[in-house]
Amino acid sequence: MARLAEFKGKQVLLGAGISVPRGALARSAAEAAAVAASLGGAVVVKAQAWTTSRAAQGLVCFAESAEAAGDAAAAILAANAGGFPIIEVLVEERVAIASERYAGVILDDRRRCPVLLISARGGSGIEDTAREHPEAVAELPLDVVEGLPLHAARELWRRVGVHGEEQRKLAESSVRLVAAARQLEARSAEINPMVLAADGRVMALDCRITLDDAAVFRHPDLGIEVARELGHPPTPLERIAWDVEKDDYRGTFYFLQMREGFGRGQRVVAFHGAGGGGSMMGMDALQRHGFSVANFCDTSGNPPASKVYRAARILLSQPGVDGYFGTGSGVASQEQFHSARGLVKAFLEEPLAVPAVVRLGGNGEEKAIEILTGYTREIGVPIECYGKDTPVDFCAERLESLVASFTAQAPRPPQRAPKPPSRPYTFKTPTGEITYDHAVCEHCKSKACVAACVPQILKLSENGVPVLKVTLEEAARGRCTECLACEVDCRALGAGGGHVHLPVPGLDEYRASRGME
């Protein structure tokens, strides 16, 4: 779930008709002082960080003057929250408060509908309030289409002991909050505290809004860069991974960095899972064998080989890993040779410099194992591959013993760009481009590409070289499924005339910045 920072959330609420304090963002003490001066009077300076209980961490400060606001901002910007730097503070007018309440919209998996949750006691955590003062808390399941009728909102606030003019105003704001949650497609939208100001306005003093990752594509105006619940601001590598995933609906690729700044010998491995359940069990197995994972990664839901390839390249762009570990549930419904080909292409290009153990159990596993182990021998590092009858703990044990006995070799240069073709035959794929060098192909005895092409869109021309038997447009629109057989199998069995170019935007620059080729 992507989150909205407090300031962004307040702008959205303001747009929905809910009052918020006047204020602006600042990135330096001087900016903060300037904002405070323009607001006039006492202000509050708040860190914009993904953390709870900011006040207790000294990340919310009151200031009586512009100068004090600048000092407070300087102190907050020098701190960090959860290991990540604080880049911005919100400087807001200080509001005189008559009462503090809570209102939130959350989604209920049991009733399968949104629920409005309110509390007469705002400010503190809603879970604590519900435990200590259950009479102050009430909830109302909502019709997802019809939303919240105003009368129902008034009645709900009456039930927690709010009456008169405040009840009327809170009910109005609650209706607007529900509408905002619906419009944003929020997984939760909470205002805490929702206050009655001394001047009679109901205002949102703080808010916490999480969005539905799957709906972020319908809200480009929110400027969400990475629609994933990462628990931290997206890292550069996570942004690169998200760019691979966001417009490619074929299967799922999930990538989350867990550690950075480690080195060889620290038993940190690149983790390539397939499927949520199997991935979690794989990470547990690694943990039992003394490893930690650099990242979480999941390629599942029948992704094309091209997506698995890009995932593997991103995983291998984490310097310092001691090994590469892949596993899924063990009994995958998807054809596992697609994953195998994606891994082979990535491992060869890199070339892989640490031991790898990959459990590719499921459909087509015999072929998958043959491809992954048979086509990568030239790399010269141990690569083992197992099927459904090998338990995940055994695979983790194998990696442990391979890593223990492995001595690193001199790094070899990456092999990403083939020799320029002398007689190129090129066509576009959904996310890349395939080139055959027909000067090479005409001497190929195997013609492995035509036989191995999974969607069977290749034929031999009169000259005995591979050409499309569908149109260029059809290939680009998806008849080419990017199975990568025409490169991977060609290289292992044929003359090596086929090359699939699959760009990963930003990855080369990222690697250069980390001292990798």
Partner: protein, 298 residues
């Protein structure tokens, strides 16, 4: 018997002209499923591997006479309309295979299904497979794989993880324990037929003698199954594994989400609830087949 799909289930495939739809319709047929029609707006009159394609679900229904289930293979942004169309046509079961369906769309689908009195499975589900009878979705992949992995017997499998649905079934069969039906309820938070609904169906299926569950952290499905066991609504033995013991807390839980569920959703909470209700919960996934065997003997 079996649940949700059997040898006489007549199936519609929505999105049959797409990459996944075309491939999966063929695999479903290969396993013996009666795929009687396909639907893709604008492609009526075509046929895909011999299956007639219609422009609308109602047209498919009126032309073919009876449809018991529709399986939807369309990109996530289009799932809502396709599901609402199937539900409006009164198809008793709609299977939403797609991943990344927006949750507010799912809530609208749930509302429509409740009003129409029909069921849906998913979204983000591999589907359901009744051993030797039929498959909706993509459990098992190739038909020959599904036939070699899953043998008929008396255990019903329900799982929140797609891959682990097949794994659970396969490792049970490898231990000599046969299955009635395998159901992947879907990986999302809000879904059509969650574990408790599937447990209720297994309870009513005379062939199912024992229920094997693969649960996960988050949400309240496992706790609700525990409530059903405690109230004897489910009286057949339940053997469960709950994944995610080592998962980072706070990543999947929304702040207020816990309150409505009364603090539910943790690994410990789920294990305790099921054990207190009388279910068998294994700590290691590999121990599941032996535990099921023991329950079946007892």
């Amino acid at each position: 018997m079996a649940i949700l799909v059997n040898g006489s289930t007549r199936v519609l495939v929505q999105g049959i002209t797409g990459r996944e739809g075309r491939a999966r319709a063929k695999l479903m047929r290969d396993y013996g499923t009666k795929v009687v029609a396909g639907c893709t707006p604008g492609r009526g009159g075509e046929s895909v591997d011999g299956t007639p394609v219609y422009d609308t679900v109602l047209e498919a229904l009126e032309t073919t006479g009876r449809i018991d289930a529709s399986v939807i293979f369309v990109p996530a942004p289009l799932v809502k309309d396709a599901a609402l169309e199937s539900i409006a046509a009164g198809i008793p079961l709609t299977v939403l295979v797609g991943d990344r369906v927006p949750v507010w769309d799912v809530m609208e689908i749930a509302r429509a299904a409740e009003r129409r009195g029909v069921d849906f499975l998913g979204p983000n589900t591999l589907g359901v497979l009744s051993v030797g009878k039929g498959v909706l979705g993509m459990i098992g992949g190739r038909a020959e794989s599904a036939r070699s992995w899953f043998r008929p017997g008396g255990v019903g499998v329900a799982s929140r993880s797609g891959g682990m649905t097949s794994s659970t079934g396969y490792y049970l069969c490898r231990a000599g324990i046969g299955l009635t039906t395998l159901v992947h309820v879907g990986g999302d938070g809000i879904i059509g037929l969650p574990l408790p609904a599937v447990a209720r169906l297994f309870q009513g299926d005379p062939e199912t003698r024992c229920i094997a569950l693969f649960g996960e952290i988050g949400g309240s499905q496992e706790e609700r199954v525990a409530e059903m066991i405690a109230s004897s609504e489910v009286s057949k033995p339940v053997v469960a594994f709950i994944g995610g013991r080592a998962a980072t807390k706070g990543v999947r839980f929304s702040h207020a989400g816990a309150i409505v569920e009364g603090g539910r959703g943790t690994h410990e909470g789920k294990v305790a609830a099921l054990r207190e209700a009388g279910a068998t919960v294994v700590d290691a996934f590999d121990a599941l087949p032996a535990a099921v065997a023991k329950v079946l003997e007892g």
